[in-house]
């Protein structure tokens, strides 16, 4: 089932030129089957992350499932333990492929105090993550496809098989 999430990637090459003063040229080598990664843009300033009562969080769509592998429809996965709380996802299948994955439940218990800093590590600083609006040159990051997400996703996909 998890093989649905294994990406078969074929590389396509493109050369772009840019006549602006600041940045001259760039080569972008892109796979032609991709997880959608939006370009960095101004983002709304808002507290984000899992909060009770918030709309379900959107996630990137796992790419490159074989054609017509799943039955069309919307499927709700089992509730999985994500250590700090529960995760439950909903999967939409259209044209036999995954077109959307949404969180129905996500850990939101921020008031829980967990001892991350040991006595010997007083230098670590904590904060709640917040959306920032800014123009950036590049972006680093991971997606929260945690184990609990995958468990819940797997259970939804098994209903669609």
């Amino acid at each position: 089932m998890l093989s649905a999430l294994v990406i078969t990637i074929f590389v396509v090459y493109a050369l772009h030129t840019n006549l602006e003063n600041e940045s001259a040229s760039s080569i972008v080598i892109k796979p032609n089957t991709v997880i959608p990664t939006p370009l960095p843009t101004d983002t709304p300033v808002a507290t984000l992350g899992p909060t009770p009562g918030q709309a379900p969080l959107q996630t990137p769509v796992p790419a490159a499932t074989p054609q017509g592998r799943y039955k069309n429809g919307t499927y709700v996965g089992s509730i999985a333990d994500a250590f700090y709380g529960n995760v439950q996802v909903q999967v939409t299948i259209f044209g036999g492929n995954i077109t959307d994955v949404t969180f129905l439940q996500y850990p939101s218990d921020r008031s829980t105090s967990r001892m991350i800093n040991s006595q010997a590590m007083p230098y670590l600083i904590q904060e709640a993550i917040q959306a920032q609006s800014a123009q950036v040159d590049g972006v680093s990051g991971a997606t929260a496809t945690s184990g609990a997400f995958i468990q819940s996703l797997q259970s939804a996909l098994s209903q669609a098989s």
Partner: protein, 234 residues
Amino acid sequence: MGMPVIVKIAGNELRKTKKDLQKVFDYFNYVDEEYSPYKETSQVAKLNRGEEVSSEMKMILGLSEDLKKETNGYFDIRRLDGKIDPSGIVKGWAIKNGAEILKKLGYKRFYVDAGGDAEIVGKNWTWGIRNPFNVSEIVKVLELSDCGIATSGTYERGQHIYDPIGKKNIILDIVSLTVIGPDVFEADKFSTPAFAMGIKGIEFIEKREGLEGYMIDSRGIATMTGGFEKYVKK
């Protein structure tokens, strides 16, 4: 390597730049041919078939062994199914080498970014850390000069990061760990094993000289090392 590679150069020497970028492009092509676990003719495939491998592959295996010791086994190129996959160390090594090509050609301000791990050359590039819960948002804005940045997450190119010590299949408690180091090879080397350590990973980064880190857990709480603040713009 199966991910988008972006090379961005500041300046406007257009004619010279196209040929030089081609050299970087060709190098990444070479790395993909030699080190892709998915290509039958790669050194990695040969290794897993028990065939003789190149001296460069042997050098990478040596580096992997050193890193395994430095991380008390949390970096391990042997997967749960017994196959060897050195992608975790090849990526940062290759990006750094790609950047070296441009440095030797005289470029002073550029970056080489493969899937969000980057070698940053020159001063004051603005860099974002993606929100792991919503990839169209940025949660941290950094100002970076002459360094490397790498992020590990649970889902890296279709392979789960697992804990080679506890043999847990998937790390549950943290979702993203960004490491900044003197170059991308150093940052990338340590970001994967630190992630495999879970919540303790940020302590490992804190203890290591020359590395700073920003870890996001499954609640959306970030923990950063003491010296990370110096990179933060927002």
